[in-house]
């Protein structure tokens, strides 16, 4: 393990990321406040990297874009063009909960017999550098209650952890893709000659402060989630309490669009005189038209049925099919819901605590 870790001081972070630019399309959280988002980096944007918070829109949008063209047709000739999917993308600074969200997407898009080719290609071409949450970015974070570990990201190619002293990150290289990143960083250390940007973890010079922080200030929000929550919630399908849970809901797309695990999409077409585009875009089960059938019948006519569906998909249906919960406890939907709905209340109610 030791020869698989190096330390990067915060001062050298830009240098380390610069070294990745020739090899990858690099995305990292950049911008301040409400503008904090995963952004494509180039030399001019290196200074905007901001690892202090967690963007409202999770990194899932880089694997499963808000909108993507599936193909375009030339209306004259009927010739179809299928857009290329970028080679070698690297996402820097993925939080552990968001990585688990990507693992949820992997199950939905790659398992059970149907492989979504666009998702599969992007996933294959993407290297993920995760960032451990030494402090929880939102007061609404509850990943630990959902079985997550804010300091671990097993599936990530590289895991960065802030050191105890807080002036550097240790990088652990966890996969072959991660070792490719290490090669780039190793050569950088050599280039730097007498003033190495990187210290090899195997060198004995590791002081107490340069060790990765193994404890941190973790989630203040703690939720009790029973193991049989899916069964309990399914048994409560007709419970009148769903109407109470949903009465404040405004039926918008916020909770789905900020969620790292929501993966519903729609396919539609834009017909122009010069080009016809078949595209797919995010969709949301809270919208009234989502479940509307041809002819106008809607099996989920009110927000009660829609909200129940959203919560049951998160906390029961996905578990049944894939053996994992479709909520990773990132807390975004709680932080951003305009009506202050709170999924943890559903978890506790389902568990019999309310």
């Amino acid at each position: 393990m030791d020869n698989k870790t190096i330390t990067i001081t915060k001062d050298d972070l830009a240098t380390a990321i610069r070294a990745l630019l020739p090899a990858y399309n690099v995305y990292a959280p950049a911008g301040e406040g409400e503008r904090l988002a995963f952004a494509a980096l180039d030399e001019s944007r290196l200074g905007a990297i901001n690892l202090t918070g967690s963007p409202v829109i999770p990194p899932k949008e880089l694997l499963f874009p808000r909108s993507e063209s599936l193909y375009t047709l030339d209306p004259e000739t009927g010739a179809a063009t299928v857009p290329e999917i970028a080679e070698s993308t690297l996402i820097f600074g993925v939080r552990p909960c968001d990585l688990r969200g990507i693992e949820n997407l992997d199950a939905a898009f790659l398992e059970k017999g149907y492989v979504d080719s666009n998702y599969a290609k992007r996933r294959e071409n993407t290297t993920i550098i995760a960032l451990a949450c030494v402090t929880s970015p939102y007061e609404t974070c509850f990943c630990e209650s959902m079985g997550g570990d804010p300091l671990a990201a097993k599936g990530a190619d590289v895991l960065l952890t802030e050191t105890k002293a807080g002036d550097a990150f240790t990088a652990a290289f966890q996969t072959p893709k991660g070792l490719q990143v290490k090669l780039l960083w190793d050569s950088l250390a050599m280039d730097c000659g007498s003033a190495p940007a990187m210290t090899e973890g195997s060198k004995p010079a590791m002081t107490e402060g340069s060790k990765p922080a193994m404890t941190g200030q973790h989630n203040t929000l703690r939720v009790t989630k029973p193991d049989d929550l899916p069964q309990r919630l399914m048994a409560a399908f007709d419970d009148p309490h769903w109407a109470v849970l949903s009465e404040a809901c405004l039926g918008c797309g916020t909770c789905s669009y900020v969620c790292p695990t929501c993966y519903c999409f729609d396919i539609d077409r834009e017909s122009g005189a010069k080009e016809i585009t078949e595209y797919r875009c995010w969709d949301c089960c809270m919208f009234s038209d989502y479940s509307r059938m041809a002819g106008g019948h809607n099996p989920r006519p009110t927000k009660k049925e829609r909200l129940r569906n959203r919560y049951l998909h998160k906390l029961a249906y996905f578990d049944e099919r894939y053996g994992m919960t479709l909520c990773v406890g990132c807390g975004r939907c709680i932080a951003k819901c305009p009506a202050s709905l709170d999924i943890t209340e559903v978890i506790e109610w389902g568990g019999g605590a309310l």
């Binding site: 409400e34 009234s288 305009p338």
Partner: protein
Amino acid sequence: MNYTEKTKLIQTRAAALLEAGEVSYVLGWGATRFADKTRARFARSPEEAATLVYNEHCTQSLAKYLVDDRWPETRIAILARGCESRAINRMIRDNQIRRENLLILGLPCEGTDAERCRSCRAHDPVVYDELLWEPNSTGAAAAAELSRYYRADAVDALSAAEKKAYWDDVYARCIRCYACRNACPVCSCRECFVDMHRTGFQGKRHSATDNQTFGVTRAFHVGDRCIECGECERACPMGLPILAQTQKILKEIEALAGDYEQGLDAAQDNYLGAFDLDDKDDFM
């Protein structure tokens, strides 16, 4: 009077109304597990009335929930500050709700945490059945810290090129969650144009152009009826300054027509929606 005392008054009045069976529920705010968040609460029993809260975190305006229950069997009691009361007037004018279905418990307001409250010109309710405490001594139009059109004024100060960059940036960041639409008390079409995909009014694709089509159409559809509650902007998860849109429309109407403020009474016409049956429509 502090918030604890006000909360007590609300709870007591709500419990009495529910006890007497005078209303089917009292629409107010309740606590969440987060100290800085409250949530709309529909109190249906005296016990539930005891869970109503009132404080500076009651940033959400409650009026929109009235369209979820257009035909109540028994009256609904709603806690109404300036913004809720103006929304109620406008919703009555738009035939969305009926005055006789409501028991309006007026709450003279001192503003909440929401930025928009600092520009509010109607802290005291403009329509109510009873006030739960004394009106503000400064009157309805308490001296506001921000100007009425504070967002629109800021955009108006930009050059044409800067304005374009400003709105391009806003529409690029919009995620089309429609929280702004759904929170707005005067947005009340049974089926919104954005949900009519087959008509081609609004592409479902997320692109700056489609986002702009939505944003501008929404603003025009509510602009001359906007009661300036700021719910649209408060609801936006991306923190977009969209209040600038309807403020701009109101500002222009005021420049054309003089004093113009919506929701002050339930008989007011809206500027862009006014028509005359004798109009010749020569252009059509």
